[in-house]
Symmetry: C2
Subunit: 365 residues, 2 copies
């Protein structure tokens, strides 16, 4: 008999509140589905990489609750986070008579989480869904907060909804099969939380980075939980991203320029954010918001996480600005950037002098 | 100088509240766009039938506020209320660099309103939109309440969102160009409100039906306002359609069967609902919830509105049930129907005996 589960934390959003479970071995614990109603119709949506690894365990956990289990495996890749794939999901749900009181389970990284969340938001104007994030990035970032989206050929995440899951289930064990580069990319976001919100956590990361890289479960659990807490606090304050939720974009405007220029997938998101954060740090230094030695600490921590600390050498300096000016966060043509204030705090600066920004980019070439 | 506008009513949904304006000549009153921000980017989305009739007036009203006006005309027809057309809208918005702080205007009937509302709900996870309903049906029903949707080949309105507009602008004059059959179809929904919620309004309709059919503006304004008030009250109690908002579906489960069987568009929605309501009345009579003479009054009113009161004679009785069992409102395979209780009240009945339902359908053949 497994014991009942205690959530590691709860995201408090009134009647859209939900628990986040973080443990080792959750995929063998049937209590993760205590919220599923008896014989509720369930569709597990995953991708072809994750399906052979984890689908059977999830199905086994579900079986006590319901026999109405369908599954669908999408091909692996960011290019399948599209309106077309959403439609494939809708077709499958309709063909199998899924009604409003059925539920979707997103089993995978951020691509699956964003896609399935969007499909759940739109199917019959909204049905329940559960997030089971299997990458570090999705565990500490995309599965928490209710931002769902698909891409459009003219822009990433341009079609979406704010839509909260019913619960988030994080089994730390599944990180053991994650490719090392993907793990490091997730650590970039972990470090980001320390820089923006919590110097104590940043210090803790400096002391525990080796353990994290070795997948020590106690350290992993602590880091993931702390990130989820920090993200939950922001989301609770600003669910629809009209205010300080924007701080989470530290390094992302630079990073998106790198991702877009290099072709999505060649540089992983977290890798681009790693360099982007250093560019933001350099901007901060020039604006008098950060000391050199703070940037050095950040750089060393990123390097220990096996993250790039230099911009792609094939990307010319002139390519940055055009991408950066097309960012969703650009208000009426004015460049807005998240700027760290030392370690543990950050702010949004409006109308930053472009020369300063270019100098900051150059410092990372 | 036009005078400032007073809303006919306000839909009260906390921070998603919005005004509904109902007047003659609003398309010549620039105050309808007082909520638009100076130089805000606006895209007016309409269809090719309505574009030559009303687009220029709307553009003229906008010009004082902004020069950033784009427009897009979708082909006319229910088949364009699709995910593909949504994507056409997204592409157009992205090509023209529409950001989160831009706004869409839906100028047209329920097809345009539902489609544009859905596009607004999803574009960059939600941007503002204004409803300018131009059919009677959309003025009294679809533009109020925030249900947006597109169709899927396997089912109508299967993909959508609950998403409220910023305001609803109803110019009664535009009904003068509406085809008579479409006008009658709208009256079916008007009569529906009387049956479900308000016997006084039903009595008023009996006295004013000739004036309404002659497009008398005073009567039209009163009827539209009363319907919007009644719908707003339901929506305020039950925004996400989990409770008594379902009452609005009086006659619709029967009606959808007729629409689906006859091919959407051959029987207009309101025409199918007219017959569907009579089937619901007959069910009510058999359940002891309605008197014969009440059904006769309803039938006479529908007939005066030039609405069908007999089912399509090419539709065999066996064709009803399969369609009705696929309705979105069917819970776990059990037939639920909205049943009028006399005139002015209605209720949802679960697990109605199928024989009674079939007898009710037969009474309308
Ligand atoms: N919604 C949000 O708030 C938010 C935040 C950040 C990022 N995102 C989105 O998240 C996406 C990126 O997410 P991601 O980094 O998780 O990428 P991903 O989902 O593409 O996963 C990365 C790779 O790892 C594989 N994988 C996943 N779990 C695995 C496991 N346990 N073992 C082995 N392989 C595994 C996947 O199949 C994939 O090949 C982007 O689309 C981004 O836009 C969303
Ligand atoms: N969202 C909701 O709550 C809700 C409620 C009821 C119906 N609906 C939806 O509404 C749609 C039906 O709406 P509808 O009945 O308005 O149909 P419609 O939008 O197709 O309009 C009917 C016809 O009238 C034309 N037209 C519109 N205004 C005109 C005008 N002023 N002058 C001349 N021609 C005009 C249109 O071009 C079209 O040919 C359906 O898709 C239905 O699902 C939604
Ligand atoms: Zn990120
Ligand atoms: Zn209707």
């Amino acid at each position: 008999m497994e014991k009942l589960l205690d959530p590691a934390l709860t995201v408090k959003l009134g009647d859209r509140s939900y628990p986040i479970y973080i443990e080792q071995g959750l995929f063998a614990n049937k209590h993760i589905f205590d919220s599923i109603k008896s014989n509720q119709k369930v569709m597990i949506i995953t991708n072809t990489t994750i399906e052979p690894l984890y689908l059977e365990s999830i199905k086994t956990c579900l079986k006590d609750k319901t026999n109405n289990i369908q599954s669908l495996a999408i091909p692996d890749g960011e290019q399948f986070k599209s309106l077309e794939t959403s439609n494939t999901i809708f077709t499958s749900l309709l063909e199998q008579n899924f009604s409003r009181d059925s539920i979707l389970i997103a089993l995978g990284g951020g691509v699956i989480g964003d896609l399935v969340g969007f499909a759940a938001a739109c199917y019959q104007r909204g049905i329940d869904f559960i997030q089971i994030p299997t990458t570090l990035l999705s565990q500490v970032d995309s599965s928490v907060g209710g931002k769902t989206a698909v891409n459009h050929p003219l822009g990433k995440n341009m079609i979406g909804a704010f839509y909260q899951p019913q619960s988030v289930i994080i089994d730390i064990n599944c990180l053991s099969t994650l490719p090392a580069r993907e793990f490091s990319a997730g650590i970039a976001e972990v470090i980001k939380y320390g820089i923006i919100f919590d110097s104590d956590f940043f210090n803790w990361l400096e002391r525990h980075i080796e353990k994290l890289m070795a997948l020590d479960p106690v350290s992993l659990k602590y880091a993931i939980k702390r990130c989820c807490e920090l993200k939950a606090e922001v989301v609770e304050r600003d669910e629809k991203e009209q205010g300080d939720r924007a701080l989470l974009n530290l390094g992302h405007t630079f990073g998106h320029a790198i991702e877009a220029q290099m072709g999505y997938g060649n540089w992983l998101h977290g890798e681009a954010v790693s360099v982007g954060m250093l560019m933001a740090c350099e901007t901060a230094i020039q604006l008098g918001c950060m000391k050199d030695e703070q940037k050095v600490r950040i750089q060393q921590l990123l390097a220990k996480a096996k993250l790039p600390i230099k911009a792609p050498d094939t990307m010319p300096i002139e390519s940055y600005m055009p991408h950066m000016m097309r960012d969703k966060k650009v208000l009426a043509g004015k460049l807005r950037l998240v700027i760290p204030i030392g370690i543990g705090q950050a702010t949004v600066k409006q109308e930053i002098n472009q020369e300063i920004v270019i100098k900051a980019i150059e410092s990372c070439l």
